[in-house]
């Protein structure tokens, strides 16, 4: 039987680093199938030499997730070669649930020579919040994973890591989460389960609220408000009135950044993940801090 792993994760999260490291510590005959949908075969080139066979496939447009004929054909070809392990490095925009379905179909056609050994999701700790906010595919990849590597942890603070872990847990309640720097999987022991897409995936992961202010906030009250909001929010950003006009304001990892803008406004947009009402929470914090604002 050939063990097959799916390597999931958004572009730049460290999937290729994971594949190289994983294979460097593994004996036997190994193959990698890079399903990156992109025109530039960067990952395929980077992986050359890391396995007996590295095959890149392009199934059409980088943004088109419905084409899979080359993936199916490549897996059927590989099924003939009796590898010990095959790593399938998926596209950053892949739907892993659809891939699992296809894998079952492929395995039937190949005479059940494959055994699914798990889905490893590599997530870039620095941008996980952003991509979770914008991309359904990333939410699905987290939800479908049997083990999650929160990678590049050296580039972010503890607060961001905790928020990232919390966001992961809203999508996947049981897969082990490892904090990593070079996408090294500490243990290959993890349970492989049939996973299902959470029914309300976007509703439990993305909430947005706008807090509008009727007057210019003093520096202290602005900071106090954001410090109190931060543990619940992925992002605090907006346009605020300042002494000389308006400023784009962002609060991240305990630090404020401000730069001038011509755009008029006096509001903050806050984004959060979790099973709670962000609007209610923002109203509570406004009340506690005494900052006057309206949440909508």
């Amino acid at each position: 039987m050939t063990r097959v792993y799916f390597v999931l994760g958004y572009l730049g999260s460290g999937k290729t680093t994971f594949v190289r490291d994983f294979l460097s510590r593994r004996g036997g005959r190994n193959a990698v199938l890079v399903n990156d949908f992109g025109a530039e075969d960067v990952d395929g080139v980077l992986l050359t030499g890391s396995a007996e066979k590295v095959e890149s496939i392009f199934d059409g447009s980088v943004f088109c997730s419905c084409r899979s004929e080359h993936f199916v054909e490549a897996m059927l070809r590989l099924s003939q070669e009796k590898f010990d392990t095959i790593l399938v490095e998926t596209s950053g925009l892949a739907n892993p649930f659809q891939m699992r379905k296809l894998f079952g179909y492929i395995n039937d056609r190949a005479g059940n020579v494959f055994t699914f050994s798990g889905a490893v999701c590599v997530a870039d700790a620095a941008n996980l919040e952003k991509v979770l906010y914008t991309l359904n595919a990333v939410k699905m990849q987290i939800a479908a994973a049997d083990v999650i590597l929160l990678n590049k942890t050296d580039l972010v603070g503890e607060e961001t890591l905790l928020r990232a872990e919390r966001a992961v847990r809203t999508l996947n309640t049981d897969a082990p989460i490892y904090r990593t720097v070079g996408a090294r999987l500490p243990s290959e022991e993890f349970p492989v389960r049939e996973r299902v897409l959470p029914a309300m995936i976007e509703d439990i992961t993305v909430q947005k609220a706008k807090i509008s202010f009727s007057r210019r906030l003093a520096e202290d009250e602005r900071r106090l408000l954001c410090v109190r909001l931060a543990p619940f929010c992925h992002r605090i950003k907006g346009v605020l009135e300042c002494e000389n006009g308006y400023t784009v304001y962002e609060f991240s990892d305990g630090a404020e950044s401000l730069y001038p803008t011509d755009r008029a406004g006096n509001f903050l947009i806050v984004l959060a993940a979790g099973k709670f009402s962000l609007r209610k929470k923002a109203e509570e914090i406004l009340k506690e801090t005494g900052v006057e604002g309206t949440v909508c």
Binding site: A39, G60, S61, C66, E69, V72, T134
Partner: protein, 452 residues
Amino acid sequence: MGKKLIFDILEHKRAERPAWVPFSGIHAGKLTGVTAIEVLKDEEKLYEALMQVNKLYRPDGQPVLFDLQVEAEILGCELQWSEDTPPTVKTHPYDEERLIPCRCKMPTKESGRLPMILRTMERLKKSVGDTTALYGLVCGPFTLASHLRGTEIFMDMFDEPEYVCDLIAYCADFILEEAKLYVEAGMDVIAVVDPLVSQISSDHFEEFLSAPYTKIFAEIKKMGAYSSFFVCGDATRNVESMCKTSPDSISVDENIRIPDIRPITEKYNVVVGGNIPLTTVMLHGSQQDNMKYVVELIESVEDNCHNFIVSPGCDMPYDTPVENTIGAAQAVIEFDKVKELVKNYEGTDYSKFEVVIPDYANLKKPLLEVFTIDSSSCAACTYMMGIANAAKEKYGDKIDVVEYKFTVKENIARVMKMGIKQLPCIFINGELKYSSIIPGLDELSKDIEAKF
């Protein structure tokens, strides 16, 4: 039927049957033996391939060119071409800086591949435009914006949403200019194809796409054309938001179950189209699998002669076997007969039929056996039988010609006994000579004369 049927359905009238729109983009090239590159770049080859699609698949509606990179190419993206898939965008001109392209780059009749595309549209309109509704496809504004900006656009949605709105607004204006040219060239339906829509939440759809799409579909209506909104991937959550932008129809792929979204599309009185699976059914399935899938799909949709179009989930794979699409077409066009046929095929013990196979080695004259789904209704079968009849006319008593229709149980047994997988086909003296692709009389004559 044909064009009128599509128009009736897009006008939300109750029709005789669901409409049939095969998305033969690059696959059209396979029918005439040319590559995806040729069919997407060469007017003559594209036109010939589309005429073949029209002839073999009997579409009620058909797209002219299925390539979501046409607009990106005009706006400065480099493409990487492939012989059996659509091209991919290789470079993103705004991946380093958040810029909006100049208005001077709005498309004209001379931009990029548009001259070739517009001429083909005009020719096809003249040839089949009276009977077939023609679809002009444009890349959706979100996917076009991501072609220009690359994957950074997903970070921008978080960091600089105003920029994303501006870029999408530009792309919406761009495709509206392109749509105007397509309508002038005779397109009846403008399909806006935006695969990336499935990647975002319904909140993001409302934030970034509701306004531009509402504008796009209102403008297409003003142009006097129908509109369609194509997505791929699991866009189930966005279907309601999509419907609210008021397209005449939406088209989805296998990731969405049509019965699941039908209550929503009906609530907004939007036609829904889809969704024969591209790889598992169309590419790798058998002809029977395709007929069965389409029969079950049609049966799964309530009130299926209203607001419903059967089509592949997206642009068909290049190598889709011709007979599979013929089978799918037949299932839409002759639903009752094919349903019966599928039932017979699956529910009958054919070993009890005594099929006598001719003694091919000792025939007195060449024997042409034409196996069809049904030459009275399946277009490809009609042509296949037509060419056999033409040979019979030419050679008279010197040859024998016999047709076996798959709609007759005894013939199903014969097809099984002979191991035939694809219909229509012609055997000469027991040897498979033509499968799905119809030969010319000269070619067929040579094969017959070789047996005299």
